[in-house]
């Protein structure tokens, strides 16, 4: 290939301008902001008001705890479900494939607001879920006013929304496994279940780790669900996540410095957990 710097930048510049202005510069700026006291009229360097406060703020600790709790429960459940879904949907003997794919993949196109509104209504104290529970002889649950139940609603909603998305990715991974591997195993008399555990899962590992990383990053910035479904992190602050906490600090209290410190914490955690996942994935090879 010839060196074509001028031509290359002619094609690249329009995008680079947007990329630098609205992505790279804000990333750097945000870091600087996280050291500023933005509560006074003149923003002054004062990390004690941001990073210092982070260490002792119980509201931050609560949001961090809630986020990690959702992460630890929701991500594994969803990925396991998505893997099973992908394998089942990939089965050659499946009938009505289009219908099943629609059922599980459709949530991918549903917007956060629409589905949040719907889940809020479904799990309303007088909503259809409770009516069905009562009809089945169980007691109704105060879904949105009990802290644990509210957390469960968030997790259920997230799983409904994202399991299909991950299944699509895993399905793509499954379809890249050559058929003859399974044929060889079948000839060797390996059962279907064993094929899943000894062939499918190991070969899918990179894809599954990718899904975990994507989900972790998504969960770290969870915002719309607690904002809309559980009414701004309610009851009390039982479902307040880091994303919601940042929103309240940044755009409720307009404390940009503190919110930036939270933003960088979210980023650092997301990167750390992703790297941990990648490392764990490599370790067992």
């Amino acid at each position: 290939m010839r060196l074509r710097t001028r031509t290359a930048y002619a094609f690249l510049t329009p995008y680079l301008l947007v990329f630098l202005t609205f992505w790279i510069w804000p990333i750097a700026n945000s870091f600087w902001l996280s050291f500023l006291n933005t509560r006074s009229a003149n923003w002054t360097f004062n990390p004690r008001m941001t990073w210092g406060r982070l260490l002792v703020d119980p509201a931050f600790a609560n949001a961090l705890w809630n986020t990690l709790l959702i992460l630890v429960i929701q991500v594994p459940v969803m990925i396991a479900l998505a893997t099973v879904l992908a394998v089942l949907l990939n089965s050659p003997i499946l009938k009505a494939r289009g219908l099943f794919r629609f059922a599980f993949f459709a949530p991918v196109v549903v917007g956060e607001v629409a589905y949040a509104a719907m889940f809020r209504l479904l799990f309303n104290e007088f909503g259809i879920i409770n009516k069905m529970l009562v009809a089945a002889g169980l007691t109704s649950i105060p879904w949105l006013s009990d802290p644990n139940a509210a957390m469960a609603v968030i997790i259920i909603a997230l799983t409904w929304r994202w399991a299909g998305y991950n299944a699509i990715i895993i399905l793509a991974g499954l379809q890249s496994i050559p058929e003859d591997v399974y044929e060889a195993a079948t000839l060797d008399g390996v059962s279907k279940v064993r094929q899943f555990f000894y062939i499918t899962l190991p070969l899918l590992k990179p894809v599954i780790i990718l899904c975990v990383v994507i989900s972790v990053i998504g969960t770290m910035q969870l915002f719309s669900e607690p904002f809309l479904i559980t009414n701004r992190g309610g009851p009390g602050q039982a479902t307040e996540t880091l994303g919601l906490f940042l929103y309240r600090q940044g755009f409720g209290a307009f404390n940009f410095g503190y919110a930036s410190a939270v933003a960088y914490t979210i980023t650092a955690l997301a990167i750390a957990i992703s790297l941990l996942n990648l490392w764990l994935g490599k370790e067992r090879e």
């Binding site: 094609f11 945000s30 089942l88 459709a106 309303n124 915002f223």
Partner: protein
């Protein structure tokens, strides 16, 4: 003809027995969204379990329209999503072409910067972006604020770069030898051959913009400039508001995307799996 073994038949039954109820559970919320949008208010909160639609959709939508200017908000959403998609496809495919087809000074740095910051959470930029657009530029509550800042998304760049790299470069060399200008090679050979990728990317970008919530919520808070999701979200949690109306809004946000999804499932799936596999 080979007859199916009984073991295979049993596996088939087990497979469908496991998937069918799960599929019903998954479809339930979407179905109920539709049902609720057609029920009168006292139907949604009645003591009976109502699983079939009624006929109050138009009445509910009128309630929504009086609660918030939903038609205007939807118009803004369509405008924004269309403009965003066209601009983003144009910018990212040009950038992807550049990174796939040329050797140039600084290429490594550009690529490393894009890849290295790809997975950073959006929250890390939202505050400076807000300060810049709202305070420094004074452009909050404008279409510009909704369309331009989100164009930074680099997924399209990587996707298009990969698409162009996988094409046989002899095609472009052949045109070069014939004296065809680079931008014409891009326009008349590269892009036409990338049509399936452009389709997949457009769909994903449109969906992304259509459903975008946080940034429009922050930057366009004036009711007259709200997008449809923000307008709808602003009603959630209010006390004197029609839930049937909110559900008609949810249906109107969701139904077009579901239709698109059914019609173009292949492109959706391609876009999502490509977006994930970097």
């Amino acid at each position: 003809m080979r007859s199916k073994s009984s073991a295979e038949r049993r596996r088939g039954i087990a497979l469908h027995a496991a998937l069918f109820p799960l599929a019903l559970i998954w479809l339930f919320p979407l179905w109920m969204m539709f049902v609720f949008s057609t029920l009168p208010e006292n139907g949604i909160f009645s003591r009976d379990i109502i699983l079939t639609p009624s006929d109050q959709f138009v009445e509910n939508f009128n309630l929504l329209e009086s609660d918030t200017g939903f038609i205007r908000a939807t118009t803004i959403s369509i405008l924004v999503a269309a403009a965003y998609t066209v601009l983003s496809v144009a910018l990212t495919s040009m950038a992807g072409w550049s990174l796939a087809c040329y050797r140039f000074a600084g290429k490594g740095v550009v690529l490393a910067t894009i890849l290295g910051t790809l997975t950073l959470p959006y929250f890390v930029v939202v505050i400076p972006q807000f300060i810049m657009v709202a305070r420094d530029f004074g452009l909050h509550n404008t279409l510009f604020a909704l369309i331009v800042p989100p164009l930074f998304n680099s997924l399209g760049v990587l996707f298009m770069r990969q698409t162009f790299s996988m094409m046989p470069h002899e095609l472009f060399d052949a045109a070069r030898v014939e004296g065809v200008k680079e931008w014409r090679i891009f326009l008349f050979i590269g892009l036409p051959l990338a049509r399936p990728a452009v389709a997949a990317l457009s769909i994903i970008l449109f969906l992304h913009s259509w459903n975008n919530y946080l940034w429009p919520l922050l930057i366009n808070s004036k009711p007259a400039m709200m997008t449809a999701p923000v307008a709808l979200g602003s009603l959630i949690g209010l006390t004197k508001v029609s839930w049937g109306g909110i559900m008609t809004g949810a249906v109107m946000l969701t139904a077009p995307m579901l239709v698109l999804f059914v019609a173009l499932q292949r492109h959706f799936v391609a876009g999502i799996s490509a977006g994930a596999v970097k």
